[in-house]
Amino acid sequence: MAEKLVGTDIAPPDLHAKITGRAKYAEDFRAPGMVFAKLLLSPMPHARVRNVDASRALAMDGVIGILRASEVPSREGPREACLTDTPRYEGEPILAVAAVDEETAAAAIEAIEIDFEPLPFVVDPLDSLRPDGPNAYVDGNQFSGQDGWSDLKWTDSDFATIDGGGMPNPSCPVEWTKGDPESAFAESALVLEETIVHQSLSHHPMEPRSNMAYWEGETLHAFVSTQSSQQTKFALAGALQIDPENINLVSEYCGGGFGSKIAGTTVMQIPALFSRKIDRPVMLRITRYEENYVGRARPGFQSWLKMGFLENGKCNAIDLIIVQESGPYGAGDFNTAGMIADLTYTPQNMHFRGVSMYTNTPPKAAQRGPGGAQIISMMEPILEKAARELGIDRFEMHRLNAPGADVEFGPRNATLTSVHAVEALEQGREMFDWDAKLAMSGQRNGSKVTGIGIGLSPYTAGSRGRDGMMLIRPDGKLYVHQGIGNLGTHSIADTARPAAELLGYDWEDVEIVWGNSARAYPRSTVQAGSQTTTAHTRANHAAASDALRKIRAVAAAAMGGSPSAYRVDSGRVRGPGGTMTLARIAERAIAMGGEYSGMVLPEDIHAQTVPAAQMLAGEGLMGIARDNYGGEGNIYSWVAGFAMVELDEETGVVELKEYVGITDCGTVIHPRSLGAQVFGGSIQGMGMAMTQRWVFDPKWGVPFANRLYTARPPGFLDIPSDLKWGAVNIPDPQDPVGAKGIGEPPVGAGAAALTCAVADAMGGRCLCRTPLTPDIILAELEGRPIHGRLDQHVG
């Protein structure tokens, strides 16, 4: 029997390259004659370039050329171009210079004389909503494709309420209501009203978005850092308006993205365009300082939340308003946040209002658990506060509010394929030993106070209908062609494992083909929203089923008998007519041609899969299929996080002592990688809530937290020394493999467990603000808040 590939630990096939220095990330590629580009970044948050004099720069020895905004694709409205003459945040790239070395390019940038006309700017979205407040764009602060620009202002009376500490009743572009919130609040035994500020924060993947490109005739060779491979080729082709088949996109390794490099990056256009102009390979090395600007950031929220509870602790009504700090080019987090609030607390009566406000801060993008992580980290402490006020155990409060299988959420009553949030909570209660820990809550050790907390966090975890493509070659090996990116989640290997198991393969006979569009990929999802595990275990399962059918047919044709009587295991097919190796089957499939070798393709595969399949046709037995397994309802995964902290009341420092994360993500494919996702996501959430920080100078609109040491992701000494994880491991019934994604939900769980534990250590007081840095905690403890209640990005 071939080994079991689902549910076992296997070293990813690319690990050897990663730990010997052989793995090539985008900045590790070289090309003969390669030159270096540097960017001129805007020194102002909003401006118009009046004049550029590059004559002195271009006359410098070693300078090859300049690329201006007028030479790159751009679109009307709040849409990002890779270079612009109307920068909308400090650090936006204005132009690029190429030179024989990077230092010369940097010197040339310094030699450029550039004249800016400063324009009004806004870094705090509430400022833009004030009646006479500034806008991020000259033409307004709201944009729609149909109606163009408009100016959204709240009324003086809204702001009189806000400034007085109340919840306003403003007009918002997004609004939905479910049930009858007003009557429900009247029936509530407890109504809590809070204002909430969640900060914006940079993604800061370890690998900055450096990239290199050159042209060979009409063919663009692009070496980029991206989360997704197959889709990035099409994104780049779309941006440059060229035929995708003229791009050879190389993305073997990606040093982290977390949502900031979903289908590549905006700056990946620069070397492509510049190298075409100067006919030299161009390397654009992005420094950490530049990454802070041209990298992406999670949008912050300023919120008003009203939450009603029945006597028994059940949340029965929510009224939620979110103002989102969206940067110059927008983001969708706030919409998701409303859905997630409804899903997590199942109030049955909900009023949601939201507005996305353009601001002159670095661009926003999905960051792991977009919308969900923000709202969960802010609402869970409110739920625990209600538990205290109603005299209910906090664990019970989470459990009784968690949804069951019959949940319907959001304005259109969305359903789920499966949900085991309660099981995750119960498993966590046991592993964390909640009851024993409860006795430690509030205990003092000198100036340190112990606090414990729970965070329950859902997020979307799958999509359907992608294509799978694999080949058994005459060497007998299974080649799984993966259009998904190698972003560090091990999904390029793990999504192939159920398929390989179905075909009875030993793992050593499976080759994963990825990282270079010349190697042929099927149509894939983007690696975002935790879709990949579900989407591509399904797609590969479909392709493997197709391969199995063809193996049996080829075996029956060669040896006689019924195809269904043949069994495949460990590289051989056995049946009534005898035994044959899959190597021989592959040879016979090539000879038979037609669908067996991919000369004839299924009609329902995506148009983007067809040319890739044609590249491989005739080279072996091809398994190729679209995922037609279907399914109803949304695919969501869950993580229940349990944290214990010690808060030092003298210094404001929070030390994480223990953390337990339990996930409901369906079938466990790769336990060790799953644990790493649960911990990694949770710790990123803790960084979001505790160590990273965005600070802007409100007077000049420039960021102060530009580097890792000023906006610090958690390091070894910030994380709990005692970490445990577990999985409910109940297969999703609507899925052939049963696996759901896991990337997103742990972020909210880690962050919320932390914010709840800190509130617990403070005697149940919610700060309702992130990040929980020592100065903010100290100021709160001492009763001298250092910021306005709703201020965003303050020091």
Partner: protein, 210 residues
């Protein structure tokens, strides 16, 4: 002081602490250009010269490597862009992340924050130098990582592996807490810290059993 003379002084006197001072003394601006790359004929570029490159010999991974180096060039840049050793990663350019960690005479250093001239006559080991050059056998740290399957995106992996390599020499029998402190100069943005720590402990165990 002329260039040659100052180089001698550099070798003698430079420590990490005096790095910035050193860059200024050799005529470059530390804040903007010290971490940038200046070209190499190896890339086919005609090098633009204002500061003078000097041909020096470095000992990298047990080999003598002759290379033209500018006074203010960092070791990470020399390795990556002149010696083709791209295993040493640049995550921040200035001693914040540890991705460029390598060994100089067995001591873990940030390659972004050492001048190449500082390492003349000293043994530099990078991630590419850990395997046995004859057999390709992995070092104990690398073996431990293969066994425990650590790292996600792994951009930080070379730096962490070099830091672990130093750690097991300095403290062959660490507790998890000691290992955590020993590796705290390196960041992992995927936050795969738990597995990295498990690898460090396994590496120490393997080293003790050799």
């Amino acid at each position: 002081m002329d260039q040659a003379e100052s180089m001698g002084v550099l070798e003698e006197k430079y420590t990490r602490r005096t790095f910035i001072k050193g860059v200024i003394a050799t005529g470059a601006t530390a804040s903007s250009a010290g971490h940038l790359f200046r070209g190499s004929p190896l890339l086919g570029a005609a090098t633009y010269q204002t500061a003078t490159e000097r041909l020096i010999t470095l000992n990298v991974n047990g080999q003598e490597r002759r290379v033209d180096v500018l006074p203010h060039e960092t070791l990470a840049m020399t390795l990556r862009y002149k010696l083709g050793l791209t295993g040493t990663k640049l995550g921040c350019d200035r001693a914040e992340c540890g991705a460029c960690t390598l060994l100089v005479d067995g001591v873990a250093q940030y390659g972004c924050s050492m001048l190449t001239h500082q390492v003349r006559g000293r043994a530099v080991t990078t991630i590419e130098g850990l395997e046995d050059p004859d057999t390709g056998e992995l070092s104990v740290v690398q073996q431990a990582v293969m066994e425990e399957g650590a790292f996600q995106c792994a951009f930080c992996a070379p730096g962490f592996i070099m830091a672990m390599t130093e750690m097991i020499e300095v403290n062959p029998n660490p507790t998890r807490e000691e290992a955590r402190h020993a590796l705290s100069g390196n960041l992992c943005r995927c936050a795969d810290y738990d597995k990295i720590l498990t690898c460090a402990m396994r590496a120490a165990e393997l080293a003790r059993s050799v």
